[in-house]
C-alpha cells in the first residue's frame, strides 16, 4: 500500500519538475502560493531563494541521489557534498521527511544486495542525522537489485544503479 503511495508521490514530483502552470493538483498549488508571496516581498533577485525551497530544487540542483563504488557504502567527499545540501534543505523544510532508498547494481546475489542496499541507506541516514536532521524524519528501505534505474548490463548502468535516493514525503498534519 505504502509502496503505491510513494510511487504516486514521485509521479507528482516528477510532473511538478516539468510544470509551468496549474495543471498539477494540490501540490503545485501550494508551491505557487509560496512563490507568489515571496515574489511580493522582493521584486528581483530572490528567485534563487524561491527555487531553493522547491522539491524540484532538492531533486535536480542539490541532488536526491548519491552514488557508491562497488560494494561500498562509505560517505565519500562527493556524497557528503550532496548530503550536506540535502541536510540544509531538510532543516529549512521541516514539513518534509525523507525515505532513503538503498539500491545496488545487478552484479551480486539477491540477499547480499538487500543487505548492501540497507547499508547504503543506513549510511546516508546516519550522515544526515550527524548533520542535525532528527532521526524520526528519516526512514530507510533497501531494494537491493530489485529496482534498477538503468537497465543495461554494463558498468555505465551499474554505476548509476549503485545509489541511495532520498525520496521526500510531505508530512501530513503539519
Amino acid at each position: 500500500m505504502k509502496q503505491i503511495a510513494t510511487c504516486a508521490f514521485v509521479a507528482v514530483v516528477a510532473a511538478f519538475a516539468g510544470c509551468t502552470g496549474t495543471d498539477v493538483a494540490d501540490y503545485t498549488g501550494n508551491a505557487s502560493d509560496g512563490a507568489e508571496s515571496i515574489a511580493g516581498i522582493d521584486d528581483g533577485g530572490v528567485s534563487l531563494f524561491d527555487s531553493d525551497i522547491t522539491v524540484e530544487h532538492f531533486q535536480s540542483e542539490i541532488g536526491n541521489k548519491v552514488f557508491f563504488d562497488v560494494d561500498q557504502s562509505a560517505i565519500t567527499e562527493d556524497i557528503a557534498l550532496t548530503l550536506d545540501g540535502q541536510a540544509r534543505w531538510l532543516l529549512e523544510n521541516t514539513n518534509f521527511d525523507a525515505l532513503i532508498e538503498g539500491h545496488t547494481d545487478e552484479q551480486g546475489t539477491r540477499e547480499y544486495n538487500l543487505a548492501l542496499g540497507a547499508r547504503r541507506a543506513n549510511s546516508v541516514r546516519d550522515y544526515l542525522i550527524d548533520r542535525g536532521i532528527a532521526g524520526n524524519r528519516l526512514r530507510i528501505v533497501t531494494y537491493g537489485k530489485e529496482r534498477p534505474e538503468e537497465l543495461c548490463s554494463e558498468e555505465i548502468c551499474w554505476s548509476a544503479n549503485r545509489r541511495a535516493v532520498s525520496v521526500l514525503t510531505e508530512r501530513i498534519g503539519t
Binding site: E111, Y143, E149, S153
Partner: protein, 443 residues
C-alpha cells in the same frame, strides 16, 4: 507376485507404509545405478504402454505412461526405448513377461502397468519393474490410487519407486517447487509467489503482484512457505499456509527482515534483520514469534541455512572484506569454509548433509557450485552472466537455480542440474522465474 494395495491419494500417507515395506524386500539389484562423477551412459529402459482396463481408462493410461517416461528420461539416468521399437505389446498386466522380446531391443529394465478407472473420480495404477537380463521382477508390484486430478502425482509416484529401486535411494519426482514468477520490464518487474510441480506442471499463483515478493522457502512438511514481502513498504518476513493461502508477518519488528529459512523440525526459522545500521542473522521461534541474535558484528551476515540436524548454520558474511561462507554451531563460533578465488553467497546445506551448494562470483561470471561442509572438494556446476540461488531436490541429487540473461531485456529463468554437473536443462515456466525452492517429497 502380489500387488500391494494402497488406498487413495488423499491417502498417500497410508500408502507409504506399504511402499516402504515393498522397498525393504527389494534388496540389492544388479540393475542398480551408481551415481559417480564419471560420465555415465543412461540405462536403456522400455516402458510398455500401461494397459487400460476399460475404454475410459485409455487416455489416462497413455498420459501416465508418458509422464513416467518424461520423469525417468528427464533425470538423465535413463534412456527410453521408444514404443515403435517394442517387439512385444503388453495387453494383459498379469500375463508372464516374455523377457526375450525385451532383450532383443536391448532394454535393461522393463516397466509394465495398468490403469483402472473407478467412477466417478478415482483412478488406480498398478505397475511392475523387471530386470530383463536377469529375467526377474525387481521388487513387488505396487498399486497407487487417487483422484483424476492427481493423475500426474500418481505417475510421479511410480517414477519415484522405479528410481529408488534402481538407485537404492529415494526419488524426487513427486515434489513441488515454489518460486517467484516475474513479468514486466526489468526496471519495474512484477513479482508473484508461485508453486508448481517439479517438472513445471500445475503452476498456481499465491500472491497478486502488488508487492515485491522474494525467495519463498518450504517448511519441512511442505505445508507452509516463508518468504520476504514489501507489503508494508519495506522488506519483511512473512509466513503463508499453503492450504488456506493465509499469510501473516512472522518477524514483528520495525526493522527490515529478509532471507528466511525454516529449521529442519519446522519450529524455528533463521533470517537476516537490519538492526541499527547493520545486517545480522537471527533465529525466531515460529509459534511464539520470539527471536534472538545469532551473529554479531559490523559486517553483513545473511543467507543463512540450517544443517539437516538443525545444530549448525551456514551463511555468508563479508567480515573478511568480501562475501565468503561460514559454518557455525548455532550458538558457537563461525568458521570460514570458502577459500577459492572470488566471492561466495547463498549457501544451502544438502538434505543428505554431504554438500553445501552456493553461488560463486569470479571474474564477472557467476557459477553454481557445491563443496563439502568443510569447504573441501569445491566443484562448479554452471557458468553464466548471472547464475544464482541453488535449491536441493529432496533426495540431494539435483539442484535447481535461476539464470538471468544480460542487458536491458535480460530476464531470469529456472535451470536444473545434477549434483555431478550433468543434465543441465531449463525448467519450463509460463513467465520469467527466479528464486526456486524445492519442496520435500510429497506424502
Amino acid at each position: 507376485m502380489k500387488i500391494r494395495a494402497a488406498v487413495a491419494v488423499t491417502a498417500i500417507i497410508a500408502s507409504c507404509a506399504g511402499f516402504t515395506s515393498a522397498l525393504a524386500q527389494t534388496g540389492e539389484s544388479p540393475l542398480r545405478i551408481e551415481i559417480t562423477e564419471g560420465v555415465i551412459e543412461p540405462v536403456p529402459i522400455a516402458t510398455a504402454r500401461f494397459v487400460a482396463d476399460s475404454e475410459a481408462a485409455a487416455p489416462f493410461a497413455e498420459e501416465i505412461t508418458s509422464i513416467i517416461v518424461d520423469d525417468l528420461v528427464g533425470s538423465g539416468l535413463f534412456r527410453n526405448i521408444p514404443e515403435q521399437a517394442h517387439i512385444a505389446k503388453i495387453t494383459n498386466f498379469d500375463s508372464p513377461v516374455q523377457y526375450s522380446d525385451w532383450k532383443a531391443i536391448n532394454a535393461e529394465a522393463l516397466i509394465t502397468g495398468s490403469v483402472e478407472v473407478l467412477p466417478p473420480e478415482t483412478i488406480s495404477v498398478k505397475f511392475r519393474l523387471f530386470d530383463v537380463f536377469l529375467e526377474v521382477p525387481v521388487g513387488d508390484g505396487i498399486k497407487f490410487t487417487g483422484s483424476k486430478s492427481n493423475l500426474r502425482r500418481l505417475a510421479h509416484k511410480v517414477s519415484d519407486v522405479v528410481y529408488s529401486r534402481m538407485l537404492g535411494e529415494k526419488g524426487y519426482f513427486d515434489s513441488r517447487v515454489a518460486f517467484v514468477s516475474e513479468s514486466g520490464p526489468k526496471g519495474s518487474r512484477v513479482k508473484r509467489l508461485a508453486i508448481m510441480d517439479y517438472d513445471g506442471a500445475n503452476v498456481r499463483y499465491l500472491s497478486d503482484g502488488r508487492s515485491i515478493v522474494l525467495a519463498p522457502r518450504f517448511s519441512p512438511d511442505g505445508s507452509r512457505i516463508i518468504y520476504t514481502s514489501y507489503e508494508s513498504g519495506v522488506p519483511r518476513v512473512y509466513i503463508m499456509d499453503l492450504n488456506t493461502l493465509q499469510s501473516r508477518e512472522l518477524v514483528e519488528s520495525v526493522e527490515m527482515s529478509f532471507a528466511p529459512r525454516f529449521s529442519p523440525d519446522g519450529r524455528k526459522a533463521i533470517f537476516s534483520l537490519n538492526k541499527g545500521s547493520n545486517t545480522d542473522i537471527f533465529e525466531i521461534d515460529v509459534a511464539t514469534g520470539n527471536f534472538r541474535q545469532v551473529t554479531f558484528g559490523n559486517s553483513i551476515e545473511t543467507a543463512p541455512s540450517y544443517s539437516p540436524d538443525g545444530q549448525s548454520i551456514v551463511f555468508e558474511s563479508d567480515r573478511s572484506g568480501s562475501q565468503q561462507l561460514y559454518v557455525q554451531p548455532i550458538n558457537g563460533r563461525a568458521k570460514r569454509i570458502s577459500f577459492g578465488d572470488g566471492r561466495y553467497g547463498t549457501p544451502v546445506w544438502s538434505p543428505r548433509g554431504d554438500y553445501i551448494a552456493f553461488t560463486k562470483q569470479a571474474g564477472n561470471r557467476f557459477h553454481i557450485g557445491v563443496m563439502r561442509t568443510d569447504g573441501s572438494e569445491e566443484r562448479l556446476l554452471s557458468e553464466s552472466f548471472l547464475d544464482e540461488g541453488p535449491t536441493w531436490s529432496p533426495n540431494g541429487r539435483v539442484l535447481m537455480f535461476f539464470r538471468e540473461s544480460r542487458g536491458e531485456f535480460g530476464a531470469p529463468f529456472l535451470i536444473s542440474v545434477d549434483v555431478t554437473g550433468r543434465n543441465l536443462k531449463k525448467v519450463p515456466t509460463p513467465e520469467f522465474a527466479s528464486d526456486p525452492a524445492w519442496s520435500p517429497l510429497l506424502r
